[in-house]
Symmetry: C2
Subunit: 339 residues, 2 copies
């Protein structure tokens, strides 16, 4: 069973997940496998993964070929669903058992079709899978936060090259998420305006950091970007929870993702990157009072972080980033690129 | 002139340092040069660096061979010393000009002698250089925080392989530093004990995470380690400021660093790593009231972060780390290693 431990000074939690050390390819030590002959995520290899939890398919029976998007449990999970949450002291420290969920969204049966290469409907199905899994996981009262993310490339943490996303649900709200929520709440308290709405308006008015815009979403390089070509995709409609997205918005999001990721792939020759979907934490009875302003002050959004530079001692020590490329330059380059 | 920009939601600052993009080897894109023929940090190549700011030498004149440790300005600085601090709004955002200092501590004239390969006296001279530079930079009232760090290996952010450390002084206290200070203050407020002293006692009593101990320092793997073989070197005497270290303590620290880094190099075949010296922020008139409890609640310390795994989407999204190796296992391995 994995274990969660809390740092006494920063209150940051870590997952001590010894089972992951037994993964066949230790992350970051061996190259990503690109051959598809042995890929457990390819069509025809369904038996190599745990059974599907969610699926969109055009033909075939459960765990058979004919699927378009498939969600399965991670075979080497960082957290496990079984058991009750058990918190305890350990000397002066705090720990709890590693209850949670860790799932894989296999975006396509085809090993070589990156997310941005799919038609808009295909991307919409992937983002629907994410919504449906969140709605299901939210029924589990032990889970406080659900993160959907995507690692592309070995340096970005991927151990398999077949296009896939991941969902991790944690029994605590992570410290970085809390700070984002608290920052948004503090801004609202001062101004009575949602900080994400102010950012949307500012970026639309200014335009220098805009990459793409459609009826539902704005794709732009953030003002205080940490990395060259860092991107944010922000919905125009106020909503704290990704799982409240409508069918029409999913299509608009799929369009924004396709164009943004396609431009990024062209500009930087398919860079390694992380994609992160920031949504509000689960609000169940216990903490509802604490987060009761979220619906007005927080808005879900997507961050895309290309891994062109490595965070080094300065970044690790301070949380302060050195970015050699102004976001205005990254955005102009992407905006003007014809795809 | 570099520019500092603040993220509106998280209050995190970033440095937009366009001048660094002009570095001859763009960090993270080209391999670290290991040939010493062209290395600007090697003895005999003093003219290739800016003039020395601090030096320990056995012979020769300024900027001539005969030195043991040499501190020079970074040729591609993230922040610049010249000018007055100028803060301004930019639409709804905040920015300031990039005032600060960025120096390089060249640890040895010999390209191949890693820090841990130096005799204890050599390491003590490097750590003295760091103290002396901090004392000098603290006289500049514009500077709020001074970070000493060391990047070893390309993946850890190093662009030159010649052994060196760096010092960056920033005009604001970085958000991650503030959180560490606030965590320590909150702990003291509750318990009337320094959290670092409690950690020292707990680790000495428990012993499972200890790597090495001498009269002045404890070297151990932290309870909530984010990475396999993550290490902390903690002084036994309460002191918030590294620059208050005594001559005897510098020798003890040099011994602890030599043994800890030597064990790490042997255990993992010279891994890439970041070393970070966490010290208290500069306390000048303006903020003295805010940080007036630091002397009792915060203690300077060193973190060593081997770069064996890559932070990925989950870590970027949550600040929550997945560590496949329990610190007890890392520590036992290092403790029992004969060097």
């Amino acid at each position: 069973m994995p274990e969660l431990r809390q740092d006494l000074v920063t209150e940051r939690w870590v997952i001590i997940a010894t089972e992951r050390a037994r993964r066949p390819t230790e992350a970051g030590c061996e190259p990503v496998k690109s051959e598809d002959s042995n890929c457990p995520f390819c069509a025809g290899h369904e038996a190599q993964t745990p059974p599907e939890i969610w699926v969109a398919r055009s033909s075939g029976g459960p765990n058979q070929p004919g699927w378009k998007v498939r969600v399965v449990a991670n075979r080497f999970p960082a957290l496990r669903v079984e058991g009750q949450i058990d918190r305890e002291g350990d000397g002066i420290y705090d720990r709890m058992n590693g209850i949670g969920a860790h799932e894989v969204i296999i975006e396509t049966p085809d090993h070589k079709t990156e997310l941005e290469d799919q038609p808009v409907e295909g991307i919409a199905t992937v983002m629907t899978a994410c919504k449906e899994r969140m709605l299901d996981l939210l029924r589990d009262e032990r889970l406080r936060y659900i993160l959907m993310f995507k690692n592309v490339g070995r340096q970005a943490g991927a151990s398999l090259s077949h296009p896939h996303g991941q969902i991790i649900a944690t029994p605590i709200t992570p410290s970085r998420v809390k700070r984002k929520l608290e920052g948004a709440r503090e801004y609202y308290r001062r101004k009575e305006r949602c900080v994400f709405h102010d950012i949307l308006r500012q970026e639309q008015r200014d335009g220098r950091r805009t990459v793409y815009e459609n009826g539902g979403f704005l794709s732009f390089c953030p003002y205080a970007a940490r990395f060259p070509f860092e991107l944010c995709i922000l919905p125009k409609r106020q909503a704290a929870d990704y799982h409240a997205i409508t069918g029409e918005e999913i299509n608009q999001l799929a369009d924004a993702l396709k164009i943004t990721l396609k431009k990024l792939a062209l500009a930087l020759n398919r860079p390694q990157y992380n994609l992160i979907l920031h949504t509000a934490p689960a609000r169940r009875a216990r903490r509802r009072d604490y987060w009761d302003t979220l619906d007005q002050d927080f808005r879900w959004h997507i961050e895309i972080l290309p891994r062109l530079t490595e965070p080094a001692g300065f970044e690790w020590g301070t949380g302060f980033y050195i970015n050699p490329t102004p976001p205005e330059e990254s955005a102009q380059y992407l905006r003007e690129l014809t795809i």
